[in-house]
Amino acid sequence: MESALSIDRPALVEEVEKGLSTYIHVSDDQGRIILSKKANTILSNFYRVLYMHMSHGKADFRDTGGATRGGSRNNENFQVKAPAGEAAWGIVLGTSTAAVSITDYNLGATIPHGTGAGQLLYGSTDVTDIEIIGNMARFYITRLFTNDGGADITVNEIGLIVRVHDGFPLYSVLIDRTLATFIVPAGGSRNVIYELRVVA
């Protein structure tokens, strides 16, 4: 997997924005970046989980089913490394073009995992090492999506879903939803890369 990451690693986006910012990159089968944009990030849920940890307080959040939960700090919060075949969390793709809201709790229309029409094979969601470049620190979250169906699939939305505890069990919680249109061709694949960066 590391070799694939090194192929897909995007060039530095020459934009300086202090603090935490997030970018999305999509690469094709040859590792060429075909889409690169600033994510809408970060949604309300991200700050709610961060607040739980910083304050040791409880905070409400909404899971991807739309239910309001009351969470608190937990060692599993923010977990993003979904295994292959798991379309409920990690990086997820969808087809909706509905406008993004700060309180979105799921994609508008998640593309299911599978090989049938309108389905994509979800690879594992992986996390790269931290790298420091000048006055910036960053890492990437990546996931490979393969279209084994017979027709192209048009993606319109990209999401980042983490796991959050509510005592028990773990819930899937959307922390970013960004509109971005690209095609996963029949028989082809696309690598979707979230870049989380901090600039001091």
């Binding site: 700050y47 996390v127 600039v199 001091a200």
Partner: protein
């Protein structure tokens, strides 16, 4: 987006100094701890003492709440204007807790829970510092020290655009606002 608001009052409670500035900002340890939680695996973080430790996912990671009198966690203040860089791990000239000249009484860190408006989510953390000495204190840098499972790391350091003076007998309130907006 994170902003820092510093409000200084004299012994009569009158505002004598007010600065609101973008935090300058999160430093490398913020991203390191976030990555540890997302990756659910151990990685290195740099403590406020300057050393490196291996830290795993932990329910204590990012802990920034603390009681009065403790200067090793929460919002901390200092006197040095050295510019911020991504790899910094400590406030350079931290003001001690105390009542003599050059010291401040650190009160407990408090939080305001997250709230959403149309396109913005915010939460706040704040700390009150009292100057019980007979000479003014000057604050030039502020930061956030957060506990992780095995130590303490600095996740933000901000050098103020202009120093804030806390009069003798006065106080200063520092408020960090974490603000998410659609971008």
């Amino acid at each position: 987006m994170i902003t820092v608001r510093i409000e200084s009052r004299n012994s009569k409670g009158e505002i004598v100094g007010l600065v609101e500035t973008p935090a300058q900002s999160l430093v490398h340890n913020f991203l390191r701890v976030l990555r540890i939680q997302m990756n659910q695996a151990a990685a290195s973080v740099q403590t406020t003492a300057g050393g490196w430790i291996s830290q795993n996912r932990h329910d204590m990671n990012f802990t920034s709440t603390i009681g009065a009198g403790i200067i090793g966690r929460g919002i901390v203040v200092g006197t040095i204007t050295t510019p911020v860089s991504i790899s910094q791990a400590t406030i350079f000239g931290r003001i001690p807790h105390g009542t003599v000249g050059g010291q401040l009484l650190y009160q407990a860190v408090t939080f305001v829970a997250p709230s959403d408006s149309t396109s913005v989510v915010t939460f706040q953390m704040s700390r009150l510092f009292l100057n019980r000495s007979t000479i003014p204190a000057t604050i030039s840098e502020v930061g956030i020290y957060s506990a992780v499972g095995g130590g303490t790391v600095m996740i933000d350091r901000t050098v103020l655009p202009s120093p804030v003076v806390v009069p003798a007998g006065g106080q200063v309130t520092i408020v960090y606002t974490f603000r998410g907006t659609l971008g």
